[in-house]
Symmetry: D2
Subunit: 357 residues, 4 copies
């Protein structure tokens, strides 16, 4: 569980961060007079336009919701019948951290989870799962969609080639392809490509476009690149109680998030701080990284004594389940748009110091 010490030393998650000032200001600015409720407001209209420009897709349809779990579960439920399945990795957030939300929203669809060391799925795994099921007709839950996370739950980033290969595989098997983009921006700035390239041009059909972890208060957007595939989403959002009456305050967050590339600046900052951890911890004797650091999450194995000393010192992070030798402990460090480089350096120095005792 989390150890939480000084606020600046809190690396438990990027969602411990406050709201970016630009976004809070935009919400205050939206607080003018009476306006039509339930998404009939001008901010929500502008948001669709902004996302269409951003993704270079003039007919996409987008639905803002307040949480990443809502975005994922609503997207998946629109893509898969209740008797169908979704191929994902065992460590996928939808499989491990949403208390069964995809199963709930979809009316009982099954997550067909496959093991993947850094939570990156491969085309071969998808095909194997499909063929295994196709042989058994109605007895077995048939895959109807694939869900991948970008960047993944282990901080890895799918390259464009990998995404395209998955996209082709999904299309060949007539599967929808969902991207959980809770850390979309962190992956995007790592790849240096366009949002279109990382999504529909690679075959993604539905995207959970995250903003909360990267500076918003409570705002994500579900984006369908093919509007016919959004059928029923509006109804599902309403009956899941995820349509706000004062929806303008959700849309205003995402508009401000996109404005003047705030989202990209925030993500670059978070990724850069993660690199301080990556470089710094690698250099500490007895410490090793579990994964190459590509986005804003760092997974490291340290001597148990060092981890305990860091906790006692007041640094905040989660211990993580991983294969470690006796006397070792794995931890996860997550940097955010407000993480101070000095705080990351302080943790690295402390780890080195404790390791030398």
């Amino acid at each position: 569980m989390a150890t939480v010490g000084k606020s600046e030393w809190n690396f438990c998650s990027d969602n411990v961060a406050p709201v970016a000032p630009e976004i809070l200001a935009a919400m205050a600015e939206a607080n003018q007079g009476n306006v039509a409720s339930y998404g009939e407001d001008p901010w929500t209209v502008s948001l669709t336009e902004a996302l269409r420009r951003l993704f270079e897709k003039p007919d996409l349809i987008a639905f803002p919701v307040a949480t990443g779990t809502a975005a994922n579960a609503l997207a998946v439920s629109t893509m898969v019948p209740p008797y169908g399945g979704v191929i994902c990795t065992e460590d996928a957030h939808i499989n491990t951290d949403e208390c069964g939300a995809p199963e709930f929203f979809s009316g009982g669809a099954k997550l067909l989870a496959v093991p993947a060391p850094d939570s990156r799925l491969t085309p071969a795994q998808i095909t194997a799962r499909v063929e295994q099921a196709r042989d058994h007709g109605v007895h077995v839950v048939q895959p109807h969609a694939v869900s991948i996370t970008q960047s993944t739950e282990w901080g890895a980033v799918y390259g464009l080639e990998q995404l395209r290969a998955i996209g082709e595989t999904a299309a060949r098997h007539k599967l929808g392809l969902h991207m959980d983009g809770a850390r979309f921006a962190n992956a995007l700035v790592h790849l240096g490509c366009t949002p279109a390239e990382m999504t529909w041009k690679a075959g993604i059909t539905a995207l959970s476009f995250g903003a909360t972890k990267n500076g918003a208060m409570a705002a994500e957007a579900v984006v369908f690149f093919n509007p016919t595939q959004a059928r029923g989403f509006a109804e599902r959002r309403k009956r899941a109680a995820h349509l706000w009456s004062k929806q303008r305050f959700m849309s205003a967050q995402i508009l401000a998030y996109l404005k003047d590339d705030l989202w990209l600046r925030n993500a670059r900052h978070a990724n850069a701080v993660a690199q301080i951890f990556a470089r710094g911890l690698s250099a500490v004797p007895g410490v090793r990284l579990l994964q190459e650091v590509q986005a804003n999450e760092v997974f490291a194995v340290l001597p148990e004594g060092v981890v305990a000393a860091l906790e006692a010192e007041g640094f905040g992070f989660y211990r993580w389940q991983a294969d470690t030798a006796p006397g070792e402990a794995a931890i996860r460090l997550v940097s955010s748009y407000v993480s101070k480089p000095e705080a990351a350096e302080a943790l690295v120095s402390a780890a080195a110091r404790f390791g030398n005792r």
Copy 2:
């Protein structure tokens, strides 16, 4: 459908209103540093304490959520098994305006709706429904709970006597008793009683305590007066994606809402504006009120020409389904904490003027 004109003349609903400045300020104040996510923050802890004091019930349990539909559907799903039923009125918000959310959250429970002119349920109706079902064993959906709305969907307010009689009836039949308090404050200031008197002292077991319609941005609290009856709620909220990672911003809203009686002042204001409509429109020849006005909703029947003229003039309100004579139209006017008395008077004057043409 709604006609929306000038912002100040918009009486479509109390949810067209902006956020109360005190509440927005509290959200900005909560925007300090990294804090534990998912409700482990100090604001959320304080909120429970505040509600315990407010309701004079030191062991109640409360869960903030963003929307009234979430509050209602989550509460109901905790009170009723999927094979059970909830007695409510035909016009209950849960029955008509939530796109089937209670059915969804509960896994298919049935709303057992009975007709009620002003959407106030009677003990006799509850007993009749229970007895009718008890006779038919497993073939019929058995009632497990009752849900009432205070103030009701037709702007009526249950008196304390009525509430207590319902409470006793529900208890006698071993039914949970839920109150949809989307407009709780408006009812409370009308009755001039304490929150405890209007809820658990009358037999209410679970409450959707609304704040959004009365000044918050997106915040309600589900309150269980008997903590053992909250079993499973936390899990249900999470899997319904209604637990925010940055939950502090939801809790901060309700804390500010309660502080210095902001919520009561707001409700008194809204109710007072509704009385301007009630008194003013009653005096216009050819106009009649459909219901006594007790809270902040006004239902009136006007000559069709007057309604059309008001719409053309730019007043915002909904036409409402009701029994009217040919040449008449029913409308609903809802006042909120920001409604200007002058705007209400302007509408009344316009109605009188148009009626005289």
Copy 3:
């Protein structure tokens, strides 16, 4: 509740009857050797062919299931998304007697029930419900299908004109049209038309074709007249556990039911016995029929003393909820393919005798 006396005097329901000897013999005949399970057997293949001939529809798709509730709930769940609604009458079996099965199978769809004296729905009621919902967008559950019962729960039979009018109305509003044919045969022999005329030629898109109440052990068939509308049904049946491994014994029942018009003979017999009740009871002073008797159900109002005496004598029937004067009681009598005319006459005579006391 039911009073059950001598077996022959049991008119509680047509499902108290045993299995027709011809059907039991066919099951025994199917009990030969090992055959492919889960519906890959020859009987199931033959059944589809038999139904295609019967309904004059060479591309229909049919799925046998064991119970009428399974047939109805699976059909409805295939026709309506979880966020949709089904227009039916308040007294429809799916609304009152299936413990919420349609809601369960559909994942929470809502039954939009309208009052109808003899449980016959009208085109105007359908249109009114649709228009009422269309105005309110995502807030209201939108109708996606209509379900009617033939013969109805009050023993009435829709005429072909009525069916066609409903069919046209449903098609105009793009609604699926389901017929609960638990007593399909009783209606068919009353009308004297073809199965095709009473179904797809009138606009029915899915049929629960009942056999259990008319002589089978546990067998109904869900028939989709347009095979594309059956999408997902096979999977839904399997996951609802309604695909038998030894499916041959279900299919064999329906094959025997259809062979040599057994089903029509059985239904004619049951209807004829109902006419004995109808004619006989009408002639008893102080007794009146609540409905014209068109199929095999009789609803009558008798003096309370007569009802009690009949019960004491050992006749079996249900008391029924209906508007009666003080001192009166309503009852339902159902005849089946094994009901003896002498037994019906005995009940009529007894009623007359008790009435004269």
Copy 4:
């Protein structure tokens, strides 16, 4: 997929078998006159008494249903809230062969599947899964029950020691313990213990007591050893459409199944035929068993050419997914109560003959 040849050579599954003559005769005997429907008949009453004697548990509650999937899914849905999880093995029938029925019936509960070579779960696996989840609160689906299969999907039989250890573990973690006994009799005669020893005395709280695979037509019984844990089952069965109106014909099957130890004789026969396969195939060069044969299922690896030749010869069995070397193929052979020893010997001889070519 299955290759089906001559009826006697069909070893695809034990559910390809016909109905035992004793059972069919009992159904015919039950076909007398009108009797109360929906389980109010004498056969159903007798069945509960018979099961209470059989299991030496005078207060158990039992519910007959038509299919094993219904028994499992209904049992599980009664044991686990929709937001909970069920620990089982990856190859458990509920996880792989029921098209998501447990998820459907439970309203979205999650199967927490762990790998197990012969599909026998261990106490350590249960504890590990529980501890892993307990750490993560509402974010992770919490285990509420364990489900094991006896005999397992790989033909293994849990010993009494193993069962008791699992029972203690489940009780310690406050988990319900379900046994999928689709092949209960085959396991029981292998162990030579009493039904009580193999169930509640070892800690089993709910049992799917199978009969269909061992001679019945369509009949299983869900048994709750602690009646308070059956709460809601009757309602769930009805709304899942698994309560027959002519329920006597389901209960009569199980009564006949138990009478004069028919079920034990049938199971002994099936197990004995499986031993013919086990001994015979082990002796064929190039053939190996994948599992020790303890019940009536045999898993063997043969040269691909031999498998193809057996198929061509007309033997019926499934090819099975297993780790095999190139040129090899795995198959499953299932014997039933009607399997002829000569037919099993014929297959063994043919395999030897083909292997020698």
